[in-house]
């Protein structure tokens, strides 16, 4: 079965990005596919490569990057939510005249169309949030 996953809550807030990660891992282990993970609202903050959590804390961004690499997952960050919160890839940084970018490996920035497409393509969409 194909799952689509939406993450609406930022990392280290409550638990939503952790639950979403554990759900994704279990779905993949169970032989399911994940058509896309869509990070929306404060959830976009998961995708910064500049976060430095304490070593003994959970490494939320690194976990997602590793899972995406292992299973070729499509991790999409909502562009409007990202720009409000200062999350830029190289293209957007150049286009907006900013001096840096901060998006982590395995994530890409795109629009709400990707959320709609995920909803159409996935058999089930599961939302995690605040």
């Amino acid at each position: 079965m194909k799952f689509g996953i939406v993450v609406n809550e930022g990392p280290y807030t409550h638990q939503a990005s952790d639950t979403a990660y554990n759900f994704a891992k279990a779905a993949l282990a169970g032989g399911h596919d994940i058509s896309r993970v869509f990070f929306y609202h404060d959830g976009v903050n998961v995708g910064t490569r500049l976060s430095i959590p304490p070593q003994d804390d959970r490494q939320i961004q690194e976990q997602w990057t590793a899972l995406a690499k292992e299973h070729d997952l499509d991790l999409v960050i909502c562009i409007a939510a990202a720009q409000r919160r200062g999350l830029l890839d190289e293209n957007e940084a150049t286009r907006q005249g900013k001096d840096a970018n901060n998006i982590a490996d395995g994530f890409r920035i795109s629009g709400l169309g990707q959320l709609i497409e995920m909803g159409i393509q996935a058999d089930r969409t599961v939302t995690f949030g605040d």
Partner: protein
């Protein structure tokens, strides 16, 4: 059309669990996750309301979240099914849709 409902906030903090239970239909499952697991404890001030509203639905709880909060599985209300993340995935797959009560 069976729906899997997930509730992630304590019923002592928000109305979402009680509201969810009032809306859920027979054949649905209500899965309590994150702080929502407090709703599955027996002997609380809300246990009777949860059990009463949850009559026609299956009540389930995410075991790792119970454990993280130090709630012993023996303290769960009668009839509450305990699942791990694989069980959560199975519930999402076996119901027609998922509704997160955020």
């Amino acid at each position: 059309m069976a729906t899997l409902h997930t509730v992630n906030k304590s019923p002592f903090a928000t109305q979402s669990l009680l509201s969810c239970l009032a809306h859920a239909k027979a054949g649905d499952t209500v899965l309590m996750i994150e702080d929502g697991v407090y709703g599955a404890s027996a002997g609380t001030g809300l246990a009777e309301a949860v059990a009463g509203l949850g009559g026609g639905v299956t009540l389930a709880v995410l075991a790792p979240d119970l454990k993280a909060r130090g709630i012993d599985a023996a303290r769960l209300m009668d009839g509450v099914k305990s699942v791990d993340y694989a069980g959560f995935v199975d519930l999402a797959a076996t119901h027609d849709r998922t509704q997160s009560w955020l």
